[in-house]
């Protein structure tokens, strides 16, 4: 039984017919074809599917799609401005060498965004806490933390 869902996605009003059994990740990837959000485990342990909902970083693979009703959702595709200008955190990830295979990158950036939107100058511990749920096997996290720090300092 499909239901109607209305929410704001990357700044645009979305009206979608959804199966209430779906996760938000399913709607994003399989229906709306926003494949920037990744599925790394499907049970909320790797953070590759992180999106920002009403300012909070959320594992979209665990998030029942109907919960998004009336909320504001931002995915990695919605971070750059409409003229293609990258968000400072995206530029920092590029320039600081925080990207290797890149599979964790969208989720990592979304967790970082949620942090930076609430804290101007997070400490290193706060940065580590914010991305503790985002697994990365390539980078050893050092340059990811450097990238987030560089933006925090520059704001």
């Amino acid at each position: 039984m499909k239901k109607e869902l209305t929410f704001t996605l990357n700044g645009e009003a979305i009206n979608a017919e959804v199966d209430p059994q779906w996760t938000l990740l399913y709607l994003l990837r399989e229906v709306l074809e926003l494949t920037g959000t990744k599925e790394g485990c499907g049970y909320g342990e790797c953070g590759a599917c992180t999106v920002v909902i009403d300012g909070q970083a959320v594992n979209s693979c665990l998030y029942p799609v109907m919960e998004a009703e009336g909320k504001t959702v931002t995915t990695i595709e919605g971070l750059a401005s409409r003229n293609g200008q990258l968000h400072p955190i995206q530029t920092a990830f590029i320039n600081e060498g925080a990207v290797q295979c890149g599979f964790c990158t969208p989720g990592m950036i979304m967790s970082a965004t949620a942090l930076l939107d609430t804290k101007d100058k997070p400490t290193e511990e706060e940065i580590k806490d914010a991305v503790a749920g985002n697994l990365c096997r390539c980078t050893g996290y050092v340059k990811i933390i450097d990238a987030i720090k560089s933006v925090a300092g520059g704001r």
Binding site: R29, L34, T35, G36, T37, K38, E39, G40, C41, G42, Y43, E45, C46, A48, T75, I76, E77, L79, A80, L86, Q90, F93, I94, N95, G97, V99, Q100, C101, G102, F103, C104, T105, P106, I109, I127, K128, D129, V131, A132, G133, N134, L135, C136, R137, C138, T139, G140, Y141, V142, K143, I144, I145
Partner: protein, 782 residues
């Protein structure tokens, strides 16, 4: 130094026009240039295999065995076949009965009669959705007769043990790894000090964030296109052609298109059952079929780093000079054979040649069990061997009464050395790396205090100039110029996140004197990319780098030749800078590169500029005694660590971590540091937490909650130290760095723990429980 002829001669290009490459004023090489594919990755535009869709595509799912050792009495797929949306259900009957995959050709992609491990594939379905495919699997009825299993290699080696592969007549693989250099027995008699002990390491897994997957698609003539995340496109192509032949499809074409690869670390160095299952499903349905592993499958159905049991004995003379090293190793091979079984070949490298040790004896046995089968993983056996060697070396230092650093320096490798296994050591920064470690750790101030805090170190040797493990160690590059002075570089080198896309572009940009943004690297399609033996053995910067260098020099010679005519100048005086060809003699003679190229393209009887170069390094396969100069150069490094051990909880906290690496030359320090940090943290995971827990052939912790892969909270303060030794055969002096970062981590930490609290943990991972137990035992002994 004007090094153009050296580069040209080194690569034996025989060019009529000899282009200049000024080694002193490098503009692109040596710079911290961001990874080329980072922009699409940070906006979510990079397409991984998970993201690729082909019109009409079906979804494949695999049914695995419920038992690690059992007879299949009945396999009934009829209910699954009737489910709406199911397009095909296949079993072993749908594949040629004799078709096998793997290093020993002992692995049928779909099993019948008997299953030998929990990851044995017994049936598969293709359906119109993932959900239907999953439901169909649950409708397949299997009846098993459970058989007693063998889960311990020592048990499997016993007389009368149940045979996994009856036709093999033994559970010990017919791969007799044996290296003998000098006379170990005589050396033992002459040794002043000898230590001996046993060390063991667990299964650990790659944990690529992007799980395995592929899409198999056939055209009307049964040519195969495989969307893949392989790290060995040319060799996978060969495997697939063989498979198609076996399926009765002779003389067909295979094209492999690599999606963006979500991590490799060795896991994609072989081809696997699921790929052949996807092919059969695609043939049966005449539709593209996609198989994507769940995280659960990624844990239990891919091949981990092999676990080892190592007996080691080492000795030295009164002055601390190493006299011999003897090692015996047993590897759990699991039920089938992939590259894991060949890792003893790389273990030999540190065993024979980490420090100067004149007499060496090493044997290794790989043993079939009903466990998971192993594969390549970053370091390829080196971490297991180095854990034993470097832990044992600290034990030797203690009995000999020598500081472990002094002992290591006394025996350190040096340039110009010929090691007992016949490795020709060219550049070698081992001592410099160790010196960086002791200086930065304040070794002298901190070692030997035993105050609950302690320092430890360990070194590494690894191949750094390719590794001739196959008959070829080659890689091809093609360069094509467009009308505007921009270049397309087609390389055989795959990018698995390590940054070969950027390194290749930097080398080409440097040689051609053009901005790096004018270099487009194409590296993911066997239809257009040249041959390469694969991403392994830390070989890509060295081998693909030299290949790109050769192709770039060749095309530069062509450019200078046509520009010479245009400018009426002898090409010997011409060079290119920032995309402009100019005369070094007459500053009025210049032309933008694009203009020169257009002149060639549009001229009557014109031509196009294109160059190719295949670089196969002058290294050697091992001879029958496992000796020979496997690599053109060798990578060195040393890690030092300071730890604090909580005697109440057994918790080990890393206070400081120094990772110094001799890389020849840092072509891109930004990416290089990324390899060191990333490798280092994998090593820390290996040392302190990661272990696949197999009980009676079943994986008990196959998820990210229970398998302790390090998170951002687990990183210690870490310094990546780059030591440059200018390797004469490397591209711009570079050597490999892909694997070394994790090789010495575990023993450095184990040694630091011993220095802190006097207990030696010989079985990885070093968990708080093990430390606590060892502390209690030590207390008992007083």
């Amino acid at each position: 130094m004007d090094n153009l002829t050296t580069l040209e001669q080194k690569l034996q290009l025989g060019l009529a026009v000899q282009p200049k490459v000024n080694m002193e004023n490098l503009t692109t090489v040596g710079q911290k240039i961001p990874k080329r594919d980072a922009p699409p990755k940070v906006i979510g535009a990079a397409q991984y295999i998970q993201d690729v869709k082909v019109p009409g595509m079906l979804y494949g799912k695999i049914l695995y065995s419920k038992h690690p050792h059992a007879k299949i009495l009945k396999l009934d797929t009829s209910k699954a076949e009737k489910l709406a949306g199911v397009r095909s259900v296949i079993t072993a009957a749908d594949m040629p009965a004799t078709f096998r995959i793997g290093v020993m050709k002992d692995n049928p992609p779909l099993k019948t009669g008997k299953v030998l491990s929990i990851r044995d594939e017994i049936a598969a379905v293709a359906a119109t959705s993932q959900e239907i495919a999953e439901e169909a699997l649950s409708l397949i009825e299997v009846e098993y007769e459970v058989l007693p299993g063998i889960f311990d290699p020592l048990e499997a080696m016993k007389e009368g043990a149940i045979l996994l592969h009856e036709e093999a007549k033994s559970n010990v693989l017919k791969m007799p790894w044996k290296l003998v250099c000098g006379d170990v027995e005589a050396a033992k008699k002459e040794s002043a000090f000898i230590v001996q002990d046993t060390f063991s390491t667990p299964w650990v897994t790659h944990c690529c964030l992007g799980t395995s997957g592929c899409i198999a698609q056939f055209d009307t003539k049964d040519n195969l296109t495989m969307y893949s995340n392989t790290q060995i496109p040319s060799l996978a192509q060969n495997d697939y052609v063989e498979a198609l032949n076996a399926f009765g499809l002779k003389n067909r074409r295979v094209r492999i298109i690599q999606a963006v690869i979500g991590g490799g670390f060795g896991s994609k160095l072989d081809t696997y059952s699921y790929e052949y299952i996807a092919m059969i499903l695609a043939l049966k349905t005449r539709k593209p079929v996609k198989i994507i592993f769940t995280r659960e499958e990624e844990f239990f159905a891919t091949s981990p780093r092999q676990c080892t049991i190592t007996k080691i004995s080492q000795g030295c003379d009164k002055e601390g000079r190493l006299t011999f090293r003897e090692m015996e190793m047993i590897l759990d091979n699991g039920a089938y054979t992939s590259w894991g079984a060949t890792t003893p070949s790389v273990m030999m490298l540190p065993i024979s040649s980490l420090y100067k040790v004149p007499n060496v004896k090493y044997t290794a046995k790989c043993v079939y069990t009903n466990n998971t089968y192993s594969q390549a993983m970053r370091g390829y056996g080196n971490p297991q061997a180095t854990f034993a060697i470097e832990s044992s070396l600290d034990q030797l230092a203690e009995v000999a009464g020598i500081d472990p650093y002094e002992l290591r320096m006394k025996n350190a490798n040096e340039p110009g050395e010929l090691t007992p296994q016949n490795f020709k050591i060219t550049s070698c920064g081992m001592k410099e790396c160790m010196d960086e470690v002791v200086k930065r750790l304040d070794w002298k101030g901190k070692h030997g205090k035993g105050t609950g805090k302690g320092v430890g170190m360990a070194s590494l040797i690894h191949v750094g100039g390719g590794a001739r493990v196959y008959k070829s160690d080659g890689c091809g590059t093609i360069i094509k110029m467009d009308d505007f002075g921009k270049v397309d570089v087609f390389t055989g080198a795959s990018d698995i996140g390590q940054g070969s896309d950027t390194i290749v572009a930097q080398i080409v940009a440097e040689v051609l004197g053009i901005p790096i943004d004018d270099v487009n690297v194409i590296n993911n399609d066997t239809d257009i990319c040249p041959w390469d033996v694969g991403v392994h053995a830390s070989r890509t910067t060295f081998v693909a780098g030299n290949s790109a260098l050769g192709a770039a020099l060749k095309i530069k010679a062509q450019i200078l030749e046509v520009a010479a005519k245009l400018l009426d100048e002898d090409p010997v005086w011409l060079d290119i800078k920032n995309g402009v060809v100019f005369s070094t003699k007459n500053n009025e003679k210049t032309t933008p590169l694009g203009k020169a190229l257009r002149k060639v393209h549009y001229a009557l009887g014109g031509k196009m500029l294109m160059a190719e170069y295949f670089y196969d390094p002058p290294n050697a396969n091992f001879d029958k005694d496992f000796k020979g100069n496997l690599s053109v150069s060798y990578a060195y490094g040393a890690h030092g660590v300071e730890v604090e051990v909580d005697k109440e909880t057994g918790q080990v906290k890393i206070l400081d971590y120094i990772a110094a690496h001799d890389v020849g030359k840092a072509i891109n320090p930004l990416l290089l540091e990324g390899q060191i940090y990333g490798g280092g943290l994998q090593g820390i995971g290996y040392a302190l937490g990661e272990k696949m827990i197999y009980e009676k052939g079943e994986l008990k912790n196959g998820n990210f909650l229970d398998y302790k892969m390090p998170t951002a909270k687990d990183i210690p303060p870490v310094q990546a130290v780059i030591v440059e030794t200018d390797e004469k055969d490397g591209p711009f002096g570079a050597k490999g760095i892909g694997e070394p970062g994790l090789v010495p981590t575990a023993p450095a930490i184990a040694n630091a723990i011993y220095d802190a609290v006097g207990v030696r943990i010989k079985d990885l991972p070093i968990t708080p429980e093990k430390v606590l137990k060892a502390l209690k035992e030590k207390e008992k002994k007083g």
